[in-house]
Symmetry: D2
Subunit: 345 residues, 4 copies
């Protein structure tokens, strides 16, 4: 199989390159960048080794532009591009390749919600209609048939995976309060003073709290699809880690729900999933899943509330890893092919 | 004035040493440690410079033991000792020196609450009765007359300062959800695998969540003294910063309370306080207060909730700095004497 | 093939566990620890995922002790144990399994040198005699026939790989000055105050400089085997990174040696090696090789000196990765099997 | 006294603001920036507290432009501006205020050397002639009479302080090899991808090694003024710390120089200096001097070489702190006024 990566020089593009080089079903990778066509990949990304370069050998280890990528007819296209630029850039591939879009462009089907979150109408309403939300553990069946997959955001993935089973069963109620911690790579590879090493090391802060982060909208629309009565306040924070994400939610449990009920529903949803580790009361650490496609989930009941804790690697399960998992599901490969289940030390 | 520091080799002791060396009213510092009597301070703490050593010159720059410290009749004693060891170690100073205890031993007056949080009865019930809770911006009047001051914990200081004015006015109701992030120095200078650099860098996690952290009890008993109807869930997290603390609370606002009411009450409580910076909707960063005795507070109202954000340096306003501020208040010095108002870059 | 890992709970043991779980020729892993027999691996190391556990399934995912490991007749034993404990612990495996010792016990054949570096005679002189120094790119031929392999130290690996080709050709002379920077994981997983997060973050220092570090002896004896006239001063430093190692050497070039000569000899030695990337004048970063088994090498000539720069991941090419590479060579697998060539982002 | 800070929004400007606010002889601070005139200081730098703002009260806490600063006739001007922009920007102050230039513009008197290092002739040859190199512990006498002071670079300060006494006495010979480690703040507050948190955390590398860094020229011309026969190779590295600098030099000792000679000369030069701590064989850590104006120096003799180790805070003794020390010397204040001698924990 042939895969194109649009946006090879960003963090998610660079990780996709590594993952696909390791993937036994991918025979050739087409690295694409509008800003760096003709450059050697090794110059853009000196971390790749000789084996990665072999998979791009047909291209002489060089980055190509979109039009050249189109002529090579990739089976699958990963769009690792900025929000609002992605869907339009993918245009020439729709209908020809399976497109997995890592941006937010195709995640929110409701016109008004999108407009509110992004201050502009959604870019391709026709494509939006057929796009499937690629939260793998929840929408496997839909993904199998999708030609356009909207890869979920990192915050929604980390926040929703522990909540959805409880919401789907009607176990919870009222207002959820979620506090999430994100690694700095979530901001992408852009030169800004705010994300300099000196500004972020030994520093932490909240940003866009309550209902103001764009991912709030993505989380809320998913929650609505399971239980419209749930409200949520979502406080994201920056913490000085390169990669990783942690979500802690405090949720009101309905009075008739027992610990056994909770355990049962989690096992039902995730017991046989390769990338979900159910930890019971043991609290997870982001380091446990660093570099892996895992989401570790922990829960405990206190005084009528259920406390939920979940961790992912924001660049893997929160981006490139889930994108490869979506490809695996869509092409009927083993879901875990080419993906790591262990966290780096 | 002569000051003794019990526990000179821990982080809060080392910082007290620096602060008191800078303090114009302190003429001599007696560095005390039960484990290192006779050792040169400079060997324990190579970061101190020549000026700090001059203030301990009478002692030949050496650490002394408790009994030697007693004979020198310090005016004020700072106990920077482990919980459950502090109050008993301070015994020979009670009634002779003003004692400022940085441990938790004298913070919780209720016997049962203490027992529940620390699995043992409070160490000195007689002293507990006269101890004043040293949250400086709230209990200034009481501190002025106190001979024993229980210096507040870092989490309670950071969490309570934004909440107390609202609770005191009856502006809030229901269940507060607080998520707090702490620097690793909060765990003290103890050799444990869990706090090794390799274990904590690029890693984050929650611990003792909901109602299980000992500081939960301290927070709850303070809240109760303003409004017994308030409930709180408190989720502390470790983030890879050496120093610093961040609290984010989501609180239900009573329906008749306006933004103007909030601003007014904060100005009333803190407008003229040197160590509180009211930031309105601008969110604070822990770096802003690094090394200072400040607490920066931010708030915003969304859909019936008030979101509160506050930052301190856990070792300064959360420990040694507030201890010096307590001394300043108690001895009628300028509250800010010897304390920094700016954060290090 | 069956592999035993002695010292499963240390950092190199934990990484070996992950690597061998990914290795296509290893069918079963025997995790061994004298301190934790009977414990579930997942409790010692929550970072491993479901796939890693499957490879230890026969053991019920539990750690065993040495004697139990012996009865299972592993084909290969990785000893990830403290110096001076390793060779004696491996006793029951010598002659039965191929032993790859990650400690320093079998690296220095000279009795007096060992005595001087470790203050004790070498533990097993008989085994020492047959042990092969496992610097893979240099001693491939010897490793193929070895039943006991002394896996090199991280500093020697990083320092020697760029120097050996030049020394072997007689291109250099006089006194080499090497400055090396090491990640904190080099100190192992031991509870010490000196390696606490608070002590090491935002801090850097030299330690055991010149000729006083134990790895100095290991480096010097290797240099001697190529050119006895070379002297070296070796200054190691601690820098606040979890993993990674950087060496910078300033070396006097003989006057008749040209840039072309240098390039030629490096290509001769390393041009077809999968884990060496020759970068010419482009300087390497430790991040480039993080998590990989690579050593990236850079050089430039200035005013009669050649400046050499090299980077490795101290836990991979400097420990567990080179150990697996040694196994691959010894058992005639592809040298790169189960090892990563790209650095994590 | 009135002080102007040109370039208030950079790191050295922000630190000068804090230091001068603490300085008892400075009654008013004029914050200057060409890019942000009219902006509130607190918006540019939320870390400053109420006390800092009081010292700029006359300006309504706002930044002004150069021409407005000129009309206010500051006694002293600190130019914390980019290289090659500084000397010309200072034009209107020469002859009227004492100018302390933190850039490299006035450090190198030799036209050709400057041209070689900066690819352009030195900006103000007339001023260059009267400028004094402000290495405080060495040129105190000259600084006392200077109206223009060229504040030394961080690498030269850290490297030269341990070497100069030995060079001045003729104790050393041949080629010095220096390896230096710098905190990331040395690159200033500029938005570049290379200095993003994600790029620099858990990463280390050398850059501009040997004789290619601009500070090499500055170091070499100083060395020359003591002993022209000395050669030096200077390898700077980036390490992931916000602030701090470490230099390690390996130097050939003349055969007749004893340990006692070394100790004597260091005591002669630095024994009574407030900001130099002589540590003998005890190795320094950058953390020891974090936030202080100190340089800690350590040395040991091995096999004919003397190994030198020194640490500074690159933003304090390596920039803003030494600038204030220069002001203190020039205006006959106590050299240590307003400067810290202890390192933050």
């Amino acid at each position: 199989m042939k895969a194109a990566i649009l946006g090879i020089s960003g963090y998610t593009g660079m990780i996709l390159l590594r993952m696909l080089a390791d993937h036994p079903e991918i025979k050739e990778i087409i690295p694409v960048s509008s800003s760096k066509p003709g450059e050697k990949i090794i110059d853009i990304d000196p971390g790749i080794g000789k084996a990665v370069m072999e998979k791009t050998a047909a291209l002489n280890n060089c980055v190509v532009d979109i039009s050249s990528a189109v002529t090579q007819k990739p089976d699958v296209v990963f769009a690792a591009l900025p929000h609002l630029a992605s869907a339009t850039t993918c245009e020439p591939f729709f209908g020809k390749s399976v497109v997995i879009d890592l941006s937010a462009d195709l995640r929110i089907k409701d016109h008004d919600l999108f407009q509110k979150a992004y201050n502009t109408p959604p870019p391709r309403p026709d494509i939006l209609k057929i796009a499937v939300y690629g939260l793998c553990e929840i929408y496997e069946k839909e993904i199998k048939k999708a030609d356009v997959i909207a890869n979920p955001g990192c915050y929604p993935t980390c926040t929703l995976l522990p909540i959805i089973p409880l919401a789907a069963k009607g176990f919870i109620q009222g207002t959820i309060v979620t506090n999430a911690l994100s690694g700095i790579s979530g901001a992408g590879k852009k030169a800004t003073i705010g994300n300099l090493y000196v500004e972020r090391t030994e520093n932490t802060c909240a940003y866009l709290p309550g209902k103001t982060h764009r991912h709030f909208t993505e989380i809320k629309k998913e929650l609505d699809s399971f239980d419209k009565s749930l409200e949520i306040f979502f406080n994201p924070h920056l913490v000085p880690i390169k990669r990783g994400m942690h979500a802690a939610s405090v949720v009101s449990l309905k009075s008739n729900v027992s610990e056994q009920d909770i355990e049962k529903v989690y096992n039902e949803y995730y017991g046989n999933k390769k990338f979900i580790v159910l930890k019971g009361k043991k609290l997870p650490e982001t380091r446990d899943v660093w570099g892996s496609n895992r989401c570790d989930i922990s829960w405990q009941i206190q005084d009528g509330k259920i406390l939920l804790f979940s961790v992912i690697d924001n660049l893997i399960k929160g981006a490139s890893g889930q994108a490869v998992q979506n490809m695996n599901i869509r092409f009927n490969f083993d879901e875990a092919l080419g993906l790591k289940q262990y966290g780096e030390l």
